[in-house]
């Protein structure tokens, strides 16, 4: 009695350099299963630069182009153009960047590609800080979280950047959120994106055991709780206006403290601060519900 219907093809090999319980590695495994072997992956500086393996090795069974930090979307656009010139419209070009290369450093090239509606699939695996360089804050780091550059005494005072709103504002044909605890939802979204022409953006929450200070076996649990506590709702937006909410269902909703208490990066929080986070989550949730209502 299978719980999921995952394609059996493995395009990510073992022996990669992801840490124990790496959510980003699992995300790549799902993404390639869904995208298939006719895919070219473009990876800017991020954890996956390391995970994929050092020269002259690769842990992926599809071609990978390693590129500079700020250039994932533009390099992917170039690969796409080269393929198009050759008359190849079948190959999927997958830009695969972390939250640093998406929210911060690569944002201008991503915005440019989206504005030109380049025919690429851009997946941001978001582990909510610059993890491979030593857990420095990024624009994706959540409100009041600990990082090495926002230590416990002065945790991050800015809320997480709403990257989905930014991408949706470009009016791209497809933007969606996904996370590793929901493989079927993840696979469906990649396959759906693949079938659409233009710029497709997937925001994937990828728990990071060392960076979140959580045990490696809780990667799926945290990913699932992020959804159940509405920290990371799963939804899709078509053509910048049609919102579709996938998860969480009302009956499974939990208070955000259930999610926060499992992670060392939130262990310094006071009751008041946890309430402030809950309020922020609630505000974003109500906004999302409003968008879903207005577009239906």
């Amino acid at each position: 009695m299978r719980n999921f219907t995952l394609p059996s093809e493995e395009l990510m090999g073992s022996g990669h350099l992801g840490c124990q319980g790496c959510g980003a590695a699992l995300a790549m495994r799902y993404a390639l299963k869904a995208a298939g072997d006719n895919t070219i992956v473009v990876i800017p500086a991020c954890c996956w630069t390391i995970i994929a393996g050092p020269f002259p090795y690769t842990s992926l069974k599809v071609p990978v182009l390693h590129t500079a930090f700020e250039t994932a979307a533009v390099a992917a656009s170039g690969v796409r153009a080269a393929l198009d010139i050759q008359g190849d419209t079948e190959t999927t070009v997958l830009a695969w960047a972390g939250d640093g290369g998406t929210f911060d450093i690569g944002l201008q090239s991503l915005s440019g590609a989206a504005e030109r509606n380049e025919n690429i699939l851009y997946i941001c695996y978001d582990n909510e800080a610059y993890m491979n360089t030593g857990i420095q804050r990024s624009g994706a780091t959540p409100y009041l979280a600990w990082t090495t550059t926002t230590p416990e005494k002065t945790p991050k005072t800015e809320p997480k950047k709403d990257i989905m709103a930014i991408m949706v504002a470009h009016g791209i044909p497809y933007a969606a959120t996904a996370t590793v605890a929901y493989p079927d939802d993840f696979i469906r979204k990649v396959q759906k994106a693949k079938s659409i022409y233009g710029t497709k953006f997937l925001h994937v929450l990828a728990p990071c055991p060392p960076g979140w200070k959580a045990p490696s076996e809780w990667t799926i649990k945290l990913s699932r709780l992020a959804v159940h506590t509405r920290v990371f709702p799963l939804y899709e937006v078509e053509h910048g206006e049609r919102y579709i909410l996938n998860e969480p269902k009302e009956a499974t909703t939990l208070p955000v403290s259930e999610y926060l208490k499992l992670q060392g990066r939130f262990s310094h929080l006071t009751e008041r601060e946890r309430e402030a986070i809950q309020e922020l989550i609630e505000k974003r949730w109500q906004k999302l519900l409003r968008m879903v209502r207005e577009s239906s």
């Binding site: 995952l6 073992s14 990669h16 002259p56 090795y57 690769t58 493989p183 076996e217 799926i220 649990k221």
Partner: protein
């Protein structure tokens, strides 16, 4: 595992940074300090079942509509699924992990459904070996029947001696037909007889046959005569009360018993409940008189509820002190009790309240304050006469080929416990005859950790019941069978605790692609498994354990 690439000079390197091989040389298994292993656990239901019925696998078969296979799996551990599905107090359901999620599985109802659905099926008797040794079993209750079944299946010639006119022991004499229809009992005994078991009814030990003779004539002897002697109240006028068991035996044998309208039943055990519900069906108004409160009643909670639901009244914290006959009715003098400190049984001791005497009137009084084994037939040479002595002498007896089990050994217990004793004795007799030692049974951990994230709430299917008015007007079975659809849907609620059912979670959630599916099993590739523990955490049914790596 592959070899790393070594460039010995610049000329061997590619003109640009391009990959030449995969990461297969990089055995990340060396990072691991916790090792995931597939080790199936014992489900709490199976662990709680006195017979160890393989409940998760049986439910899995039922959920797929494979009823015959489910029935045959029951018969590997129990010859009486139709009986147990009706009368067992189902400790399996009490331990079911699902109770912490929504409601426990309705295991007993499913067992009954399987037995009913396979009523016409037979065991594959032809597959049995033949052996020369002869075994005598005294008593054909659940212990004797079960012992006979397992010995006969293994090829031994088994003769069962029964004092009554039909085999079944307490199942026939004590359990009323509204709980256990006789055609079900008859059918399951018939299937035991098919294995070549000979039943000699109307043969009472100590009267029609002598135990010493049996000992001489047979290679081994199993005494499973049950607990049929009613305990005394030790009060004046006691002889005016019927014993509950005699009453049940008479009614269950089809005799007419006049008990009048108002019937007092002294005692709070299962016999008392059976007496009350039987009396109701004879048109009487039963009142159960019990010296403690409802919480301390030894009867199974479900039986108490049923008796109450059907109209039985209860008089708690009251004990009879004397019975007198006056003007054609009985006058039962009682005293009010209060509860004191816990006694040896852990229940609070009832203490009489001085001066609280009161009188209850009744047309008849049934005493059901417990039963005990009657073992006076044991000869002096066996140096035993009472249950306790017998238990102490058991090792000695077993060396001589005499085994005692069931209620005769333990005092009144449950059907499933008696069956377990019968089955264990069957294997003890086989070992005795073959000169073997008892093998060490492997100890399996119980599957107690369930990841509820992978299950949806679904209500338990209710067992259909006859309406009360119909129930108390006849001895028809009160519980009705589940439909096939209900049984299947209910079985699908099973978590399958500790038993892998190929849900794929471990394979799906491995960030290192280090788990492979081979046919219907999974294998961890320890060359690459980093020991993150996700597979064990996300296994819904605790099949995967994490063990520390040895250095």
């Amino acid at each position: 595992m592959r070899k790393p690439i070594v460039f010995t000079s610049e000329r061997e390197m590619p003109p640009m940074a391009v990959s030449l091989a995969d990461m297969g040389h990089n055995c990340t298994g060396s990072w691991r300090y916790m090792r995931p292993i597939y080790s199936e656990k014992i489900a709490p239901c199976k662990n709680a079942c006195p017979l160890g019925n393989d409940i998760p696998r049986i439910l899995s078969l039922v959920s797929e509509g494979r009823y015959e296979e489910a029935w045959r799996l029951f018969r590997q551990t129990s010859p009486l699924p139709g009986v147990c599905g009706r009368v067992c107090y189902h400790p399996c359901e009490t331990k079911c992990n699902r109770k912490d999620f929504d409601e426990a599985l309705s295991i007993a109802s499913i067992e009954r459904f399987v037995a009913d659905a396979c009523f016409d099926l037979e065991d594959k008797v032809s597959e049995r070996p033949r052996r020369s040794e002869k075994i005598a079993i005294v008593g054909s209750g659940p212990a004797g029947l079960t012992c006979a079944y397992f010995l006969a299946k293994d090829g031994y010639a088994v003769t069962v001696f029964e004092a009554a006119s039909q085999p079944g022991g307490m199942l026939r004499l004590g359990i009323p037909p509204y709980r256990l229809p006789r055609e079900v009992l008859n059918r399951e005994i018939e299937l035991i007889a098919r294995w070549g078991v000979e039943f000699r009814t109307n043969t009472k030990i100590g009267q029609d046959i002598d135990i010493e003779k049996l000992w001489e004539q047979y290679d081994a002897l199993f005494i499973a005569t049950g607990a049929h002697r009613s305990r005394a109240l030790n009060i004046p006028g006691e002889e005016l009360a019927l014993t509950g068991l005699e009453f049940l035996k008479a009614v269950n044998a089809g005799q007419t018993v006049h008990i009048g309208k108002r019937v007092l039943i002294i005692g709070g055990g299962n016999t008392a409940m059976d007496c009350a519900r039987t009396a109701l069906r004879l048109g009487a108004q039963p009142i159960v008189v019990y010296r403690r409160t409802r919480e301390e009643m030894p009867a199974i909670a479900e039986e108490i509820e049923e008796a109450e639901h059907e109209g039985t009244q209860f008089e708690f914290l009251a004990a009879p002190t004397a019975i007198y006959q006056r003007d054609g009715t009985l006058e039962v003098h009682c005293i009010r009790m209060q509860l004191g400190e816990p006694d040896a049984s852990g229940r609070r001791r009832p203490i009489p309240i001085p001066g609280s005497d009161f009188v209850m009137r009744a047309d008849s009084v049934l005493k059901a304050v417990g039963e005990e084994p009657e073992l006076s037939f044991l000869s002096e040479r066996l140096e035993t006469s009472e249950g306790i002595v017998l238990e102490r002498a058991q090792g000695l007896l077993e060396r001589a080929g005499i085994f005692v089990g069931g209620d005769a050994q333990t005092g009144p217990s449950t059907v499933a416990q008696a069956m377990r004793s019968g089955r264990e004795t069957a294997f003890a007799i086989m070992r005795f005859l073959r000169g073997e030692r008892k093998p060490k049974a492997p100890q399996l951990d119980e599957a107690l950790r369930v990841n509820f994230s992978y299950f949806a709430h679904k209500p338990r299917v209710a067992t259909p019941q006859l309406p009360v008015a119909e129930r108390i007007s006849s001895f028809a079975e009160t519980k009705r069978a589940l439909s096939a659809d209900q049984a299947r849907v209910e079985a699908q609620r099973c978590f399958s605790c500790g038993v892998c059912n190929n849900c794929d979670n471990c394979w799906v959630f491995c960030p290192d692609a280090a788990i492979t599916r081979i046919d219907s099993t999974y294998q961890v590739n320890y060359d690459f498994c980093k020991g993150c523990g996700i597979c064990a955490e996300e296994c819904p049914r605790s099949v995967i354990s994490l063990v520390e790596e040895e250095l």
